[in-house]
């Protein structure tokens, strides 16, 4: 039988690096295939060749049994291939319909007709998208839906989704999977790029594993398990367990009470937030993106003006002190460290054009003698981070912007840990990282915890939070909607708390 799409002997090089090496792969209609691999294993590159973003150096692509040459995104569309990119390709100031109309040259230019078509697709699959709504007014999930509609409107039969769930809540993910299954029933071939093994198991029919640009194996989902997949991905046996210890000798380290913050426009971002972070404990923070996670960490770090409330910090064996009113520098000196990984990774905390040493210096720049900075110390720290965290870089003076995402994050988290803090706050530390690197970071957190550090961990992946954290604080719309015991709670309970304060029952 002919396959919906088939890749034969595909090779792509960037300079001297081989991103894809002789890849053979096929997908059939009515099948959901997961494409699995570590960061830098060439998943996205491979799919970008189907989408017309890159052109393969060698090899052939067959669509429906016919050899095709895909030189541009337009060629991809004409062959019925549509890709939903990780970073949405949408124009913020356009409406949904205008975005869909982009690049469609057939017929008369008639936005009303496009809007009607969007409505029709939206109704067919139950998307609930208003064609005349501007993109910047939409939630992340809605934006993603527009991306899917865009592809469907062009009549794509082969859909590629690049890490679609990275930005969704558990409920939204469920909904997306429902949509994927509906499209599968409709006879579409779907390729799903993902890191999350539980999703692979939940939704896909077959799994293709890439490692270092090579296609390792394609297996049927029901004939495999997460452990086996991980080994295929990494190439050796890895432990997927986080050895969560009982917190030992927990003492209140950070006591937050009645914390309220407003942004410059007077919108309340945090409302009456209160909690205690204990030493030797990981406090997970969950919430839909933009529920106040970033604001909370910034408020504690002194980066954000506080309208009311108090933050009492109790260092080991010292008298408690109030952090509100202190400068970020004073708070840092006191031992409260913040490792924030923003969506673009480099936005906050690291300077892309500088090497590791100089980035380490950002923490110690005021320590030098007179007008000169001290380069020796940061260099030592950089060496340590480089060795201990196995950062892949040509040299510690190589600009961090050019490192892969995982390595950038290692540098960021490593620097904060190197300052031996007594409170370590990290947000999205594993954002976009593959499973192996993620576990290195998790184990780093765990290591800090065993040293008696109070770790505050803002995470996106609920499964991980449930495994890693001791307690989970759930934020909803800037309010604490509950603090639950991570050992006994369920994903559903946390998910519910994320969407409504109190989760319909009393929070403890």
């Amino acid at each position: 039988m002919t396959h919906a799409v088939e890749l034969k002997n595909i090779t792509k090089r960037f300079g001297s690096t081989v991103a894809n090496d002789k890849v053979d792969l096929y997908v059939d209609s009515g099948v959901i295939m997961s494409l699995l691999g570590e960061n830098g294993s060439g998943k996205t590159t491979l799919m970008n060749m189907l989408a017309g973003i890159y052109f393969p150096d060698e090899g052939q692509i067959f669509v429906g049994g016919k050899e095709v040459s895909i030189r541009s995104p337009r060629d991809a569309y004409e062959n019925g291939i549509g890709m939903i990119h990780q970073h949405f390709k949408l124009i913020d100031v356009f409406t949904a319909a205008e975005n869909v109309a982009l690049g469609i040259n057939e017929g008369k230019y008639d936005l009303k007709k496009v809007a009607a078509g969007v409505k029709e697709i939206s109704d067919k699959y139950g998307f609930g998208i208003d064609p005349d709504k501007k993109i910047y007014e939409m939630s992340v999930s809605e934006k993603q839906t527009v991306e899917i509609i865009k592809v469907l409107y062009r009549g794509a039969n082969i859909l590629i989704l690049d890490e679609p769930t990275a930005v969704l809540t558990p409920q939204e993910t469920e909904k997306l999977f429902g949509i994927l299954k509906a499209m599968k029933a409709d006879g579409k071939a779907i390729i799903l790029i993902t890191h999350k093994l539980n999703e692979v198991m939940a939704v896909s029919d077959v799994v293709a594993v890439l490692r270092k640009g090579q296609h390792i194996k394609t297996v049927r989902t029901e004939e495999t398990n997460p452990q086996a997949l991980t080994e295929m991905m990494v190439g050796r046996a890895v432990s997927l367990n986080i050895d969560r210890m009982e917190p030992k000798d927990p003492k209140p380290r950070l006591t937050v009470a009645g914390l309220t913050c407003r942004d410059s426009e007077g919108v309340t971002k945090l409302e009456n937030v209160g909690f205690i972070a204990y030493s030797g404990e990981i406090l997970g923070i969950a919430g839909i993106a933009g529920s106040g996670q970033k604001e909370l960490l910034e408020a504690i770090a002194g980066l954000r003006p506080i309208s009311s409330g108090s933050i009492i910090y109790t260092p080991e064996g010292k008298i408690p002190e109030e952090l509100v009113g202190k400068t970020p520098m004073e708070i840092k000196e006191a031992g409260v460290a913040l490792a924030f990984v923003p969506e673009d990774r480099l936005g906050m905390g690291l300077v892309g054009g500088m090497g590791m040493t100089e980035n380490m210096m950002l923490r110690t720049w005021n320590k030098g003698r007179g007008i000169f900075v001290n380069r020796k110390e940061p260099e030592k720290v950089a060496e340590q981070v480089y060795e201990f965290l196995e950062v892949v870089t040509p040299s510690i003076d190589y600009p961090v912007r050019k490192l892969s995402g995982g390595n950038v994050q290692k540098v960021l988290v490593g620097r904060e840990i190197a300052s031996s803090p007594s409170v370590l706050m990290s947000a999205y530390a594993v954002r976009g990282l593959d499973i192996n690197t993620s576990y290195i970071i998790y184990n780093l957190m765990e290591g800090q915890k065993s040293k008696g550090v109070a770790v505050i961990f803002v995470g996106e992946d609920l499964d991980v939070l449930l495994q890693l954290a001791d307690r989970i604080l759930v934020l909803c719309d800037g309010k604490v909607s509950g603090i639950v015991d991570a050992r006994t709670t369920t994903k559903e309970e946390v998910g519910l708390l994320m969407t409504q304060v109190g989760g319909g029952k009393d929070a403890n």
């Binding site: 960037f14 973003i53 995104p73 569309y77 949408l90 913020d92 982009l102 690049g103």
Partner: protein, 328 residues
């Protein structure tokens, strides 16, 4: 003080027309995500080449010269000069991905230099102030509408007493607005300026749109320089006459929030502000300070716009950024 409102409005419109061309051209350019700071140079080139075209035609044709042909030649010469200038800019910034700010400034220096060269060369040739014959001059600067319309009290002065370039400019701005907001190509062009990677993924030829918008936009801007030289400066080449016009046009783009229809009244306002110091002198304000009013107004508008943060009023999102498909 003899204050004449109709006269002031008329002067504002006449002075605003070069700006209208300069600004509209730059709006088209910026909609593609290219920030061409070389408008000043383009307007100089347009002024010099437009004048040169008409001047040499006048000399060649002698007494039989036709006004309409002279106008068309001037239009074409200035437009092509602007296209050539912005083609250099496009090649450097789109194909070679040079920094747009630096390239734009270089184009300003280059364009003013070329303009001066051509203008001064003509002057030396003639030995004195160059100018075209009075018969031809009229076809550039004289009102084009029927006398009956012009004779309507006040309105005739304010609406119907202008040279052809004023109406051409208004028509051009309206056409451009329709193009940007009502056509498929316009939608694509805006998409390219907002997010080239999105446009690219949708199958739109980003490079072609950027080139065409920048080159045509540059040509339109250059027409503004020609209009200034041929109407306000009375077809006489004066090496400082055009100074600053291009920069005001760039400021006006921001003032107009990248909308050609706003440029219609914005250019009249700025044209008025630029000559206010002559027409409505205020004794205690030195004219040098009076002349910077357009820039102050632009700064205030910028502050207001950024405070309001309306998405639709922001510059094209990828303005000034180079696009390279395979960059990660």
């Amino acid at each position: 003080m003899n204050f004449n409102l109709a006269g002031l409005i008329k002067a504002a419109v006449l002075n605003g027309t070069p700006l209208l061309f300069g600004t509209s051209g730059e709006i088209l350019t910026e909609k593609s995500g290219n920030l061409n700071l070389g408008v000043e140079g383009l307007m100089f080139m347009g002024g010099a080449f437009g004048l040169a075209g008409a001047f040499w035609y006048d000399r060649a044709a002698g007494a039989g010269a036709s006004g309409l042909v002279a106008v068309l030649i001037a239009l074409l010469c200035s437009f092509l000069a602007g296209c050539a200038g912005s083609l250099i800019f496009s090649f450097l910034t789109i194909s070679l991905r040079a920094n747009q700010n630096v390239t734009g400034l270089a184009l300003t220096i280059f364009g003013t230099g070329i303009g001066q060269f051509v203008g001064e060369q003509m002057r030396l040739k003639v030995g004195g102030n160059i100018s075209i014959s009075n018969a031809l001059k009229g076809s550039f600067a004289n009102p084009v509408l029927p006398k009956a319309l012009q004779d309507i009290p006040f309105l005739g002065q304010v609406l119907f007493s202008y040279n052809g370039f004023v109406y051409l400019g208004i028509a051009m701005a309206i056409v451009m607005s329709v193009f940007l907001n009502r056509t498929r190509k316009g939608l694509y062009l805006k998409a390219v300026g907002e997010s080239p990677s999105t446009a690219d993924a949708a199958g739109i030829n980003v490079t072609r749109y950027k080139y065409l918008a920048t080159v045509i936009g540059g040509g339109i801007s250059a027409i503004g320089g020609m209009v200034y030289t041929m109407t306000i400066a009375g077809t006489v080449w004066n090496h400082t006459a055009l100074s600053g016009e291009g920069w005001v046009a760039v400021a006006l783009v921001i003032f107009c929030l990248w909308k050609p229809l706003n440029a219609l009244w914005g250019s009249v306002l700025f044209g008025g502000l630029m000559i206010m110091y002559l027409r409505v002198p205020i004794s205690f304000i030195p004219s040098q300070i009076y002349k910077v009013v357009p820039y102050i107004v632009t700064a205030i508008v910028l502050v207001i716009v950024s405070l309001r943060q309306r998405k639709e009023d922001q510059p094209p999102q990828s303005l000034g950024l180079p696009y390279f498909r395979e960059e990660r």
